[in-house]
Symmetry: C2
Subunit: 325 residues, 2 copies
């Protein structure tokens, strides 16, 4: 019998899901729109229907042994989504329990950055590592910590909110209500804000002067940098410097073996990795210098969110076996 897991990534616009084996091979992939359902119960019914159809299409001799869910503000301990700013359903949504009852298998739920961290451990570049951090650079900045081989959840189930450490208490406005949070500088949105700041402050010509804020994206900034655009190059240097300085702070907390960067911004390669590593090393306490690797995630592809979510189940089942044996 081939064991498979369902991975579900709940985004504000779309919910991606897939059925995956222990090696990360994707047997089925699909998505349903998140926004069209006014009631949470209707959304759940839609999602459960889609999963049931996908299960029917599986090859004979295979079975689903669990469901993993990654979602913004997902609470690992409670299996709930709480006060997610990117979803229209308010209150506490007991999603893990609903999946458990519907499908009769374990369901593990956590936030998307934690799912990315477990995904890196199960399928990616962190195989065999016990202490590492994954930083997800998307609309915001998320982070997942693995310490001593286990996901760090914290007392309230909300550990790893590095996106809301402070770069400048009087700096850029943040969705969380504070000012100057790391994610307002280091994220797909953050580097756009930096480009616009540089265009405002400086006189240099730049191909980015012809693009509106709403149209500008990380790919355009990367391509401009590849063509030698001075504003784009400075924007990456500035982004990497801030990320590097903050990683130097984070490293002395949990002493990781490696830090993995995940998301579209990392496709800029050396433009983002070089200043990040340089400024991390320069700002590190000497005892830690030269010890911590900064590496690209192995999961930077379309199926990454599904792999991250499905990996939660393998991790859960394997930890249980360790305790029993």
């Amino acid at each position: 019998m081939k064991d498979l897991t369902i991975g579900i990534d709940i985004g504000g616009t779309n919910t991606k899901f897939g059925i995956v084996d222990r090696e990360g091979v994707v047997y089925h992939q699909g998505n349903i729109p998140t926004t069209v359902y006014e009631k949470f119960e209707d959304y759940f019914d839609g999602m459960a229907d889609a999963c049931r159809k996908a299960i029917q299409d599986l090859p004979a001799g295979s079975r689903v042994v669990g469901i993993g869910v990654g979602a913004a503000n997902g609470n690992y301990y409670k299996g709930t989504i709480e006060r997610a700013t990117n979803l229209k359903w308010k209150g506490v949504l007991p999603l893990a329990e609903m999946f458990r009852q519907e499908f009769g298998v374990p369901c593990v739920l956590t936030n998307d950055a934690n799912a990315a961290a477990v995904g890196e451990m199960i399928y990616g570049n962190a195989k065999g590592m016990k202490d590492f951090i994954v930083i997800t650079l998307g609309t915001g900045l998320g982070s997942g910590f693995v310490c001593a081989g286990a996901l760090l959840n914290g007392h309230h189930g909300i550990a790893g909110e590095l996106g809301h450490t402070s770069v400048n208490p009087a700096g850029r406005y943040c969705n969380c209500g504070k000012r100057g949070c790391l994610e307002t500088y280091v994220s797909a949105t953050g580097i756009k804000r930096t480009v616009y700041k540089l265009l405002a402050d400086h006189l240099e010509p730049s191909e980015l002067r012809g693009i509106s804020f709403d149209n500008l994206n990380t790919k355009m900034i990367t391509e401009a940098a590849q063509r030698g655009d001075i504003v784009a190059l400075h924007a990456f240097e500035y982004t990497g410097r801030i990320l590097g300085m903050k990683l130097a702070e984070t490293v002395v907390h949990t002493d990781p073996e490696a830090i993995f960067l995940f998301g579209g911004l990392t496709l800029a390669g050396e433009f983002i990795f070089r200043p990040t590593i340089k400024h991390m090393e320069e700002n590190l306490m000497p005892l830690f210098r030269g010890k911590v690797k900064v590496l690209p995630s192995a999961l930077s592809n379309q199926a990454a969110p599904i792999l991250g979510a499905s990996s939660l189940v393998w991790d859960h089942l394997e930890k249980q076996q360790t305790v029993i044996s």
Copy 2:
């Protein structure tokens, strides 16, 4: 048979040791000078001798089941002390292995702040807690993290160096080689430096103007604050503000239930706790506000370093039993 553990705290000047039961009752307490031994081997022989004599004096029906050692730069994984700036013996000192061979019992070694954290969990105010942080405020600022019920060691065995996070990259010179580290502001030495900065910048009269830097200590600053001395009061406000702002950063990393403050500076009570809590809450990401307690350590007494070190053994033995059973 009554099981006891030896706790050894290696300081730059004195080595304190004691024999302690599971409830924290101290059966024997002593110390030997650290500085008089030119060779590390002679220091170890002196320490082993003192332990053997103490063991002979124990009541009948008791036995020593392990040795715990707390020391600056102690490495938990290797059981060694490496490059400790407060000791004259250079190189890597394999102390845990030497104790194991000499006494035939387990020996657990870690840095002094980690020992304080385990001590708080075994004997102190963190009993039953799974996720908390201990901050030690002495000559420097040390920290020990407990996550999911276990001491956080990190990949290289050097996690929890909060004293060397950055307050101001162009700030006060630090022993570690960097500038502006947290411990140059928040520690017994840090508040002295703050008092001298305030005396230099301002005109206000203060009883602290009559005391030299070398003679000034935390107790004098606390007593001046109790008498309403404006410089002393501002020094505590400034120290607590910086500590609170940095704790707000730390909280979003590991999401603790509580943070315990340990050391002489905490005897100032509300003078240090009030601004620390106020500025931590103000700077916290809203999701975490009102969730994390800042409390005094229960081990702020003479025997605290011995209790911290001895607790390492109970923690080690109890974790082993969990795995076996």
